[in-house]
């Protein structure tokens, strides 16, 4: 189970990579493993306004469908269109595959999230 440095982590197993006022969002290695083979990713439309905690993305594997929640408030800036044809990329490279990005309205919302070590401890406690 990999954890990458330099990212922020949520308790619902999303990672956030901050680039200026943009938050790139994906799911962690732990999440992709528990989902199993991902078959479909439903991304929001660019320009959609999301509030922190909104259901933004839907990921389906063979056995389960899971929501991915917006970790911050803002506007959807970009979505990973490659996921339409190759959703399995997330399974292969969870941290290298962003799902969508948000132009943040309030970057201070990031403060509540975990760093790599804290997330690792969090996951270890779960099992």
């Amino acid at each position: 189970m990999n954890v990458e440095e330099g990212l922020k982590y949520t308790e619902s197993h999303e990672w956030i990579r901050v680039e200026g006022d943009t938050a790139l969002i994906g799911i962690t290695d732990y999440a992709q493993e528990s989902l199993g083979d991902i078959v479909f990713v439903e991304v929001p439309e660019v320009g959609t306004i999301v509030a922190k905690g909104d259901e933004a993305v839907n990921i389906e594997s063979v056995k389960v469908a899971e929501a991915v929640y917006a970790p911050v408030t803002g506007t959807v800036k970009d979505v990973n269109e490659d996921l339409e044809d190759a959703p399995e990329t997330i399974n292969k490279d969870a941290y290298g595959t962003f799902i969508y990005s948000i132009t943040m309205a309030d970057p201070s919302e990031l403060n509540s999230y975990m760093d790599a070590d804290a997330y690792k401890a969090f996951v270890d406690a779960q099992d």
Binding site: F40, E60, V62, A65
Partner: protein
């Protein structure tokens, strides 16, 4: 003695022994005494099989089956004998849902073939393994278009839909933030101009439009320009089509529909007092992920052999739980298999032929009722196998005369929907009705109106 419960007394004792219980009653001690049902169930005692059959036969005889010219959503068609024999195969009848594909290839493939047949007749490639009936299929299609467009909440529905469909739609959406807006009819059809002005009023909240053809009056809706108008308004187009009409008439795909729905009863199932049949639903690939219910997909096994499996199950309620867009868990599997056996027996030639025969049979009786009996059309213009007349004569005399003739002459539409004028009477004529039966109808009608 209950033949379906195979235990001998010795076996029961041996089993209780193994469990360590003194009696079967001991296995129920966890039911609190205050709740226990302490008297026998107040139903007559068990019966021998032949006594049961005698009872059922007597009940069946209490019904009066007649020559059917009634439609209204349920039709009397010729059913090839192969249908009942093939759907009666024990391996189809006594199987559960095909969750273990290795031992369910029979049903999975039959349902895949059903999906393929529906795709062919509607022209839309993605179909599921059936829903409960045509009315719930229409409701599910509306749910699909609402869920496919964020912040949409309005569905325009043709005023000429079958009243049952309207009722089911109302029940489905009563507790959700959805607005169903009816498109009023103009002389038994819905005009394009009615649609375009309603589209304008609906604005950004429009999810889609639902129309049925043939409609409740049997009239064929002319859907020229509809799909363009709906798509220009950023909505989706749902067409509810009588499946047997698709042998001769324009398919939903040809009308530019995004989703096609309907009831499969005419495809090899008897009237059976309204059930069971199946609902079909088909759509384009863009809406594939929104398709509710069970879907069979083709794949391979480890050796590369073609194999079928239930797919997109994450869609089903049992995985998404609260977030499901539908709670459909099952399908009408055996009814769908009857449908595909029927279509296989007919083939493309038979399918086109039966469709044409329905058209000509209805046209024949319609012409005779107008020319020879002097009745009038409510909706002039083309129909499939059902048409609506105005009958201003005494209803009781009409009904009683035909009852004595052993004919069910049709359906008073106000019986389906009180808001429909009381003099509108819908008559269905299928390929099953013979010339003699048509003659009998004419004679009886003459008497009823004399």
């Amino acid at each position: 003695m209950i033949p379906y419960i195979p235990h001998s007394q010795a076996e029961i004792s041996a089993m209780l022994d193994r469990i360590g219980a003194a009696s079967v009653d001991d296995l129920f001690v966890d039911i609190p005494e205050e709740l226990r049902f302490s008297r026998p169930i107040d139903l007559p005692g068990s019966m021998a099989e032949s006594d049961v059959m005698n009872l059922l036969a007597a009940m069946a005889n209490e019904n009066r089956t007649k020559t059917l010219f009634a439609g209204g959503g349920q039709y009397d068609h010729v059913i090839p004998s192969v249908v009942s024999h093939l759907t009666g195969r024990a391996e189809f009848v006594t199987a559960y849902t095909p969750y273990q594909p290795e031992i369910s290839q029979g049903i999975l493939q039959a349902l895949f073939e059903f999906q393929s047949a529906i795709a062919e007749i509607t022209g839309l490639p993605v179909s599921n393994a059936s829903l409960y009936d045509g009315a719930t299929a229409a409701a599910e299609a509306c749910a699909m278009v609402l869920n496919a467009k964020r912040k949409s909440r309005i569905v325009l529905t043709a005023g000429t839909l079958h009243p049952h469909t309207k009722s089911v739609l109302g029940t489905y959406f009563a507790d959700l933030d959805v607005e169903l807006v009816e498109l009023p009819e103009t002389s038994g059809r819905v005009e394009l101009s009615t649609l375009t002005s309603a589209l304008e009023s609906a604005g950004e909240e429009l999810a889609g439009v639902l129309v049925q053809t043939p409609n409740i009056y049997g009239a064929l809706e002319d859907l020229t320009g509809w799909s363009d108008a709906v798509h220009a308004a950023n909505g989706r187009f749902i067409v509810s089509a009588h499946p047997l009409s698709l042998g001769a008439l324009a398919s939903p795909a040809e009308w530019g529909a995004d989703i096609a729905v309907g009831d499969t009863q005419p495809l090899g199932l008897p009237p059976y007092f309204g059930g069971p049949s199946a609902g079909y639903i088909a759509c384009g690939k863009d809406l594939m992920r929104r398709m509710p219910g069970r879907i069979v997909g083709e794949s391979v096994d480890a050796d590369g052999k073609s194999a079928f499996v239930l797919t997109h199950q994450a869609r089903e309620q049992h995985i998404k739980r609260e977030r499901a867009t539908s709670n459909i868990c099952s399908n009408q599997s055996l009814a769908a298999i009857a449908n595909v056996v029927y279509l296989s027996a007919l083939g493309p030639t038979g399918f086109a032929q039966v469709s044409e025969q329905n058209i000509s049979a209805a046209a024949e009786l319609r012409r005779r009722l107008i020319d020879e009996i002097g009745l009038t059309d409510y909706v002039p213009g083309p129909v499939f196998n059902e048409f609506t007349l105005r009958i201003s004569a005494d209803r009781k005399k009409w009904d009683d005369t035909f009852a004595d003739c052993g004919i069910v002459p049709g359906v008073w539409l106000s019986d389906l929907d009180e808001s429909i004028p009381a003099d509108l009477f819908s008559v269905a004529v299928t390929e099953k009705r013979t010339a003699t039966e048509l003659d009998a109808y004419i004679a009886c009608a003459r008497e009823a109106l004399s």
